[in-house]
């Protein structure tokens, strides 16, 4: 969008004030209400994804219900010609991230800011809206020190799990909770964790966990304790550190019960009553150690640094083209080094440092007895439960808690889930169901290999199941069976139209369209014009299979017959001279026609005489008569079939 452009004939874009992977933010002027607003515009490459748009709108609408001095108000949500936008209150200031500038602020100021943020989040929670992406980048702070939180619920809209994205869309992992890292649903407790992380940053100047990659950071959220804030800033009172550490508890249950409780805890941390508060042991710590491992290890980044400071480090950025000759000789060495780099990172986690702890061995796949022996040898207590399993043999371990590689205290109970063998189900009767209903029924019972065959059927509706390969009621193990469903494509017979009166070409087209073989038979007809269908076989209305021969009887028009034509010829005799006897001349008329060659007349005449004769002419032929007088041809009379026909 360029400045000066208008959205919805109302908002005049003034300046871009921010941009993200999914949206750009502009300052704009609302010309109706004559005020400055901020407009978040979805980037055009995403404005064609309907699923995404729906979530974007739904979440934005939900946030419009929030009305609080510490929440950036949403005025309008709309779209105009594929431009999706959210119109928001414009805050004249900067984000809290910009405000902090990598430094910490005084505890007093931190608490003044935090109090406002808590009020905003508390209000949202009261309206059953979870923020899910609390971070200083989503907080605006104005000249007067007022803080406003923005982007409620947008995180949900962004998490369209079917669109592939790179890490940049993961957003900031620095503030998200362990349960979010693990993919569990984020709730009020997740927001409390994030508030704790923001407060940590306000008073220490750094985020709780720092890592090379988002994954490294996420991992620390899951596994590590952050450095105690007081170690980073000695001015922090113990009571406030206690509050921060409780909010950052791994287990949601160990955090403050509500945002209000968290707020109260941090706001009272400077009070005289709490001046001598001892370091609060994480309430969850004991319970946590029983079930999970929290091996205190140095932050991941330092491990990586350590490894990469070794002389092997400059491996990664080698330009493969320029360095080719060198690489050729040592390619295996690179592989080895890469392996070491990766291995080193993980290895640092695995190396134990406390004798009271032991690594849980991987017993998945062992028999329950083997697993028990192995775990007991390692110093753990074993408990087992059973569960049906499709792919694990009876008596073998399906899963274990804690997982292999964890390092809980010796004596911790390791729970094994042991396979009770495969579960059989009674084959359902899906005949007559629609294909999708049948597949759903089967999938619900864990049949995975369903094959569909299509077949025409006169009795079963198109799309419904005609038959199933396994008879209903049979006890089967769904994962081991292939169920073949024969699904009806409906009746594929064609009910023949009445083609009488069609031209042959039209009938051919009809046959092609209905996959019929056309056979032509000609017949003369006095009533049906030439080239039109007289009748058909099978007759109209008959239902036939595709490929059936359709015989059409095509009119050739009226059957042509021989035509006879009467012709006349006048043989002129000159009258004899005075007194002379007339001379008799011989006249012979021969015809060559459908009857063959015939002499139709032989006569002797003495005076001019008119003869008539008949020519019988076959279709497409000619009839010819020759008239001879005294052996000399005086006339040849040729008549074509058409001429004869015309004269009729």
């Amino acid at each position: 969008m360029r400045s000066g452009e208008r959205i919805n004939d109302r908002y005049r874009i003034e300046q871009q004030i921010g941009s993200g992977g999914m949206a750009n933010v502009y300052r704009a002027h609302d010309e109706i209400l004559n005020r400055t607003v901020a407009i978040k515009v979805l980037r055009s490459e995403f404005s064609h994804n309907e699923q995404f748009i729906r979530r974007f709108e739904r979440e934005a609408h939900a946030a419009t219900s929030l009305n609080h001095p510490n929440i950036v108000a949403i005025y309008d949500v709309g779209d105009e010609r594929d431009i999706y936008y959210i119109v928001m209150e414009h805050v004249d200031g900067m984000t809290l991230k910009q405000y902090l500038q990598e430094d910490y602020i005084s505890v007093d100021e931190a608490l003044r800011i935090m109090g406002q943020i808590c009020d905003a989040i508390d209000h949202a929670h009261a309206n059953r809206i979870i923020h899910r992406d609390i971070k200083p980048q989503n907080m605006m702070i104005d000249q007067g020190g007022n803080v406003k939180v923005t982007d409620f619920g947008i995180a949900v809209a962004m998490s369209n799990a079917t669109l592939t994205h790179t890490m940049s869309v993961l957003g900031s992992v620095h503030y998200f909770s362990p349960e979010q890292a693990r993919g569990k649903f984020a709730d009020e407790k997740s927001d409390i964790y994030s508030l704790g992380a923001v407060l940590y940053e306000l008073v220490t100047g750094r985020v709780p966990f720092i890592g090379e990659t988002p994954v490294a950071v996420a991992l620390q959220h899951l596994q590590d304790d952050p450095i105690r804030p007081m170690d980073l800033n000695p001015n922090i009172p113990q009571a406030l550190e206690n509050c921060i550490m409780q909010a950052l508890a791994k287990s949601p249950g160990a955090r403050h019960a509500s945002v209000a409780a968290f707020k109260k805890d941090c706001m009272t941390s400077l009070s005289t009553e709490r001046a001598n508060e001892p370091r609060r042991l994480n309430a969850e710590q004991d319970a946590f150690d029983q079930t999970l491992v929290m091996t205190p290890v140095a932050p991941l980044e330092s491990n990586i640094k350590e490894v990469s400071e070794q002389p092997v480090a400059p491996v990664a950025p080698v330009d493969p083209v320029k360095e080719k000759p060198k690489r050729k000789k040592k390619w295996w060495l690179w592989l080895l080094l890469v392996f070491l780099l990766i291995g080193g990172g993980i290895g640092a986690y695995v190396i134990a440092d406390e004798m009271s702890r032991a690594v849980v061995p991987d017993v998945v796949g062992m028999t329950a007895d083997e697993a028990t022996t192995e775990l007991e040898t390692a110093g753990f207590v074993v408990e087992t439960t059973e569960r049906a399993s499709d792919n694990i043999a009876t008596g073998d371990v399906i899963s274990q808690t804690p997982k292999a590689g964890r390092k809980p205290k010796r004596g911790t109970t390791v729970t094994l889930v042991v396979s009770a063998g495969k579960e059989t189900v009674a084959m359902p009767d899906v005949e007559g169901l629609s294909q999708s209903a049948a597949e759903r029924t089967l999938k619900d019972l864990d049949f995975t290999d369903i094959e569909i065959q299509s077949e025409a059927s006169e009795t079963v509706e198109s799309g419904d199941v005609i038959s199933q390969s396994i008879a209903p009621g049979n006890e089967v193990i769904p994962s081991e069976e292939t169920v073949t469903l024969v699904v009806s494509t409906g009746s594929n017979k064609v009910e023949l139209a009445n083609l009488a009166g069609y031209t042959f070409e039209e009938a051919t087209t009809y046959a092609e369209q209905n996959s019929l073989k056309i056979v032509k038979r000609d017949e003369y007809s006095t009533s049906v014009p030439a080239n039109q269908i007289i009748r058909q076989l099978p007759t109209a209305g008959t239902a036939v299979d595709p490929g059936t021969e359709l015989t059409v009887i095509v009119s050739q028009g009226v059957e042509p017959t021989d035509v006879s034509i009467e012709r006349e010829v006048n043989v002129e005799i000159d009258p004899p001279a005075e007194g002379e006897e007339p001379v008799a001349l011989e006249v012979v008329i021969r015809t060559v026609d459908a009857r063959g060659e015939v002499e139709v007349l032989r006569d002797k005449i003495t005076e001019t005489t008119t003869y008539s004769y008949t020519l019988v002419i076959a279709p497409d032929e000619v009839g010819t008569a020759t008239i001879e007088v005294d052996g000399e041809v005086v006339r040849t009379d040729t008549v074509t079939y058409a001429q004869a026909k015309d004269s009729q």
């Binding site: 980037r43 490459e45 064609h48 079917t162 592939t164 890490m167 693990r182 993919g183 990659t213 995975t448």
Partner: protein
Amino acid sequence: MELAYRTDRGQVRAQNEDAVLIIGDEQAGIALVADGMGGHEAGEVASQLVIEQFRRAFSTLPATPMEMENWFRRNVELANEQVLEFSKQANLLMMGTTIAGVCWHDDTIVIVHVGDSRVYALREDKLQQLTEDHSYVNMLKQLGELTEEEMRVHPKRNIITRAIGSKEHVEPDLQVFAEPEFDTILICTDGLTTHLTDEEIKQVLERPVSADVKADQLINQANRLGGSDNITVALVQFTDRKRG
């Protein structure tokens, strides 16, 4: 040897952002899939740019394992530059693509991948995933923090940690196999593996039908199960490979 490929829009997406390439014969060839990302058009362009790069590069496919690896690395880098360049010019911030593929020359097979498109190999009766997804969830899974099942339903399972077109340099994963005696190699985008488990894929690959029919069946199954993403498969079936 039989080669087959299919690419399908699926049931939900408005366009197909996947691309696929398969060229070659018994002696030498390449088979690649790419799953573009970045929304409208950006994804389509990204995956096409990568495929076109390899189409042009095919004639220079070398014959020794090490050169084949370098060939892959170099062409992935070139493709990366092109996608970056395009995304800068068109101001498409989120543009990028995965790649997964193989090239073979005589008895050597080299496998490449970046992102969450996969290469599988069927050998005797075992289906093995040869690639480790470069995805956020798979990294957590490798570190023991997520189970296979948690990974399948994780809301951030769409986040990949490496892509072509997202950074100045891209580091592809490469693997060399000498005389691997694979029966079939399957290369696919996540549109297939979102819906089909490895077991389901294996069952299709083991059927005594042509590679073409198998490709159809894989696509059809993924579509029947929802087809929530574009689906692309490429199959290399070594029918006459000598068995020891």
